[in-house]
């Protein structure tokens, strides 16, 4: 039962972040490979201020501010660079932020992470967490689904299909990008206000590159742009990821095997979904 509740918490706390990433990468075809960079900013912003002031309100407000700034920065980069160049640069920004967190030990405690993360008063047990995070995930999924099906979603699709045509129809690319990045940033904020509380720990290893590959795998396997598909693939892949812990193997073997397995799943997913991921065919 505990394991089942744990899986529910893991899935529900990941949902807002993954769906935000799906909006950008799956629906908008924007090569934002730094969603965990925004997550680092969100998590450290919220909990450093919360611990310093003993106030969740101030912590979340600070988190919202830094996430907005980080999202606006990524949006600016996406407008400034070619799509693939932005992909590489967003990874660089993510790794740069991780380097700052790991090296600014006086503030972040570096690789040790921040222990004894405070919890909301109403989140006492794993069951409380499972219920609350599921409600948050469900509400956020509905909001994003409505946005995706509404005029904003259509603008995003139009820009991803043919930027010039979309612009000629009056779609403002900078505005659409900024809104999409801010929405993804809010998703990161929602995920990261809950996840460290659940673990009682804010640790930089949770924001490494394998975490990003998990996000890409979820979006590609679920069907890029599809909210329902992403939710389904997130559930299945989370069961797989968490279930692997029960294989009786040494951690120094299990860790690399997990990397290989998720790399293979991503490759197969891209191979099967390549028409959905990038439907355009080269003519020359």
């Amino acid at each position: 039962m505990n394991f089942f509740l744990h899986i529910i918490v893991m899935i529900a706390t990941t949902v807002p972040n993954v769906l935000g990433f799906n909006l950008l990468f799956g629906r908008g075809k924007i090569f934002h490979f730094g969603p965990l960079g925004v997550s680092i900013v969100a998590a450290y912003g919220i909990f450093l201020v919360t611990i310093a002031t003993d106030s969740f309100t101030l912590g979340i407000a600070a988190g919202l501010l830094v996430v907005s700034l980080a999202s606006a920065f990524f949006a600016w980069l996406s407008l400034r660079l070619d799509a693939d160049g932005f992909g590489v640069m967003s990874i660089a920004v993510h790794l740069g932020l991780l380097a700052v967190v790991l090296n600014w030990s006086s503030l972040t405690r570096g690789a040790l992470g921040i222990p004894r993360i405070p919890r909301f008063v109403f989140l006492d047990s794993t069951l409380d967490f499972a219920l609350f995070s599921t409600v948050v995930a469900a509400v956020w999924s509905y909001i994003l689904w409505k946005i995706d099906k509404g005029p904003f979603g259509r603008k995003l699709i139009a820009l991803s299909e043919h930027e010039w045509h979309a612009k000629s129809l009056g779609i403002d690319r900078p505005q659409v990008h900024l809104i999409a990045f801010l929405l993804a940033g809010i998703g990161a904020l929602l995920s990261n206000v809950l996840y460290p509380q659940y673990l009682y720990l804010l640790h930089p290893s949770d924001y490494g590159f394998p975490g990003f590959v998990f996000f890409v795998t979820v979006v590609v396997a679920g069907g890029p742009g599809s909210v329902r598909g992403c939710l389904l693939s997130l559930i299945l892949l989370s069961f797989l990821r968490e279930g692997l812990r029960f294989i009786p193997m040494a951690p120094d073997i299990l860790g690399p095997l997990r990397l290989i397995l998720f790399g293979l799943i991503l490759y197969i997913a891209v191979y099967c979904r390549r028409d959905l991921l990038f439907p355009k065919q080269r003519t020359v």
Binding site: M89, I91, V93, L95, V216, F262, L277
Partner: protein, 292 residues
Amino acid sequence: MQLLANALIAGSLAALIAGGLALVYGVLGVFNMALGQLALTGGYIAWWLHQVAHLSLFVSVIGGLISGALMTWLTFEVFVRPFYKHHRFLPLVTTIAWSMILDGLILLVFEERPRSILSGGKSMIPIGSALISKEQCIMIILTIASLLLFAWVFHCTPFGRKLRAVVQHESAARSLGINSAVLHRVIFIVSGVFAAAGGIFIGIDQNLSPTLAFSLTIKAYAAIIAGGKGNIWGAIICAYAIALLEQLLVGIHWFGAFYVPAGYQQTVALLFIIGILLLKPSGLFRSVSRTA
């Protein structure tokens, strides 16, 4: 002086990798995100041949380069070729998957411990007020020789003219009878050999560690983006510039008050590109492509 020497050493490594990659981007228009892992594979194989199989250093280095070529060929056939004609952005995702697989394989086979191809201390040669090891001198000379050879092939031989034709306009080159498919494969493998040479360079000069892979990749692509995508010489110049900035950042006693911790060194490449993007979004030395 020592900072300049260190920049020359680090820049040679980055230039070696970035030069080959810039050519790949110029011709195929794809990013290979598994490049750092391919570089490390070449280095680890050379380490294994020298330290475990006890072969001579020369044979081990050749073995490392050949393994780098074979791994890059495999990368091209499985993770790039089935996708890049479909859409040139797809290999960006598939090579990320391959980088994860290679990361796992490197950890399983070679473990997380640092590995050095040469054991024991290195004899240092004083050059001015700087100290450089004999191995570093040889590697800098070999890097510059490789880049000059590459320049000669690219600019002065029939093969180089075919390459430049494909870079400028692939369809026109094909209509002139140039087999672009073969050239794509050759260029990709050459970039992998350069990367493997970079990995062997690290293994001889410092220690090989699985965690180095992504910083290698990012640094090489930083040089490519800053140099103007597809411009080989722009990428090489920027690779040296980034290395110099990295050394200056951590080596200077800033305002006589503090040193920047070495952990921030890899963020320099990022700051460098952001600065350049503010000034010139298309890169410092953007190639002017023919439109007709």
